[in-house]
Symmetry: C2
Subunit: 183 residues, 2 copies
Amino acid sequence: MKKIEVPLGEATRIINHGPCVLISVANNNRDNLFTVAWNMPVKKSPALVAIESSKSHFSFPFIETSGEFCINVPSASIVESVLKAGKVSGAVVADKFAHAGLTRARSEKIRAPRVAEAVAHLECKVKQIISIDSSAIIIGEVLCAVADETSFSNGVWQFDNGLKLLHHLGGNAFCISEKKILL
Amino acid sequence: MKKIEVPLGEATRIINHGPCVLISVANNNRDNLFTVAWNMPVKKSPALVAIESSKSHFSFPFIETSGEFCINVPSASIVESVLKAGKVSGAVVADKFAHAGLTRARSEKIRAPRVAEAVAHLECKVKQIISIDSSAIIIGEVLCAVADETSFSNGVWQFDNGLKLLHHLGGNAFCISEKKILL
C-alpha cells in the first residue's frame, strides 16, 4: 500500500462519509489505540475535525496532555482488529496494537504512531476540548493527511480497486460501503 | 413505509454509521431543509447528537430562534433529492421540500416537519451551540426517534429488505452501504 500526501484543503474528505476510525495516541510513557464511530469534519479550511470521547476513557488524558491524536481510517479488511481495539481498555492491555494485531508506523507531524494497516491517516493537534456532561468533543486541526493512492484521489474515495469502507452500526455490527454514486 | 418508535436509549444508533442526513427546520414564518454530511452522536443517555453548520447558513437562525431541528435519514433511493436540497439555499428557494421533490410529515414533538420519504427521524431540541471560528457545532437532545420498521430493529439497521444507506463522499459523489457484517 503506497500512501501519498493529501492536500490539507481536501483532508476532511477522508472522513466525510462517516467512517468507523481508529484513534492512536501517545504520552511520554506509552501509546494507545481506540475505536471511534462518533467523528465528523467541522471545517474545511483550516481542516478541523471532531471526535467524541468519554472523559473517563483511558486515552482521554493522553490527548489532553500531548495535545495530539491520529485518526486512522480502516477498510473492512481489518474489521476484526477494529472491533478488538474497541472492546478492551488500554488500562487492561498495555499494547493495544499487539492485542488488535496491528502495526505501528511513524507519523510525520506528531508523536502518536499511525496504524500501518489503515488506508488513510489524519495527524491532528488539539484545538479545543468541549465538555458535554461526562463526554468531550475533541476538536483537532489536521497537520498532515495521507491516503492510499489507489483508494483516494482528487479528494474522493475510489472503489475501483475493491475498497470497502467501514461504518459502525453498533455493538458487533458494521456495514460497508463499496460502491460510489456519482450524480 | 410504517415507522415505529425507537426507544431513546437506542436513538443514537440511527446515525451511528455516519449517514448523510437532511435537516428540517422551521420558524414562525416558514420551514426549510438542508443536507448535512457532518453529524455524529455525542452521548447515548440522554441521547445527544451533533451537527455542524456554518453560522452564515440560511437555516442557522431558524435553529437558533426555534431551538429545534429534525434529523431525517434518507436511503439511497432519494439521493437526487438529497443532492438538490444541499445545492441551493433557502434564501433562493422558498419551498425547499417542493424543490427537492420531498413531502412534509408532521413531527411529534417539534414544529419542524419530518421528511416523509426518509427512513428515520430524530426530533431534537437544541442543548448547546458551540462556536468554532465561522462554524457552529449544534448539540441537540433527541426528544423523539422513529424508524421504518423493516429497516431498523433491535437498535440496529437491517439490510435484509434491500435497504441502502447513504453516505456523502463530497461534491456530487455518494457511497452506499447495503451489507452488514456481524462479528
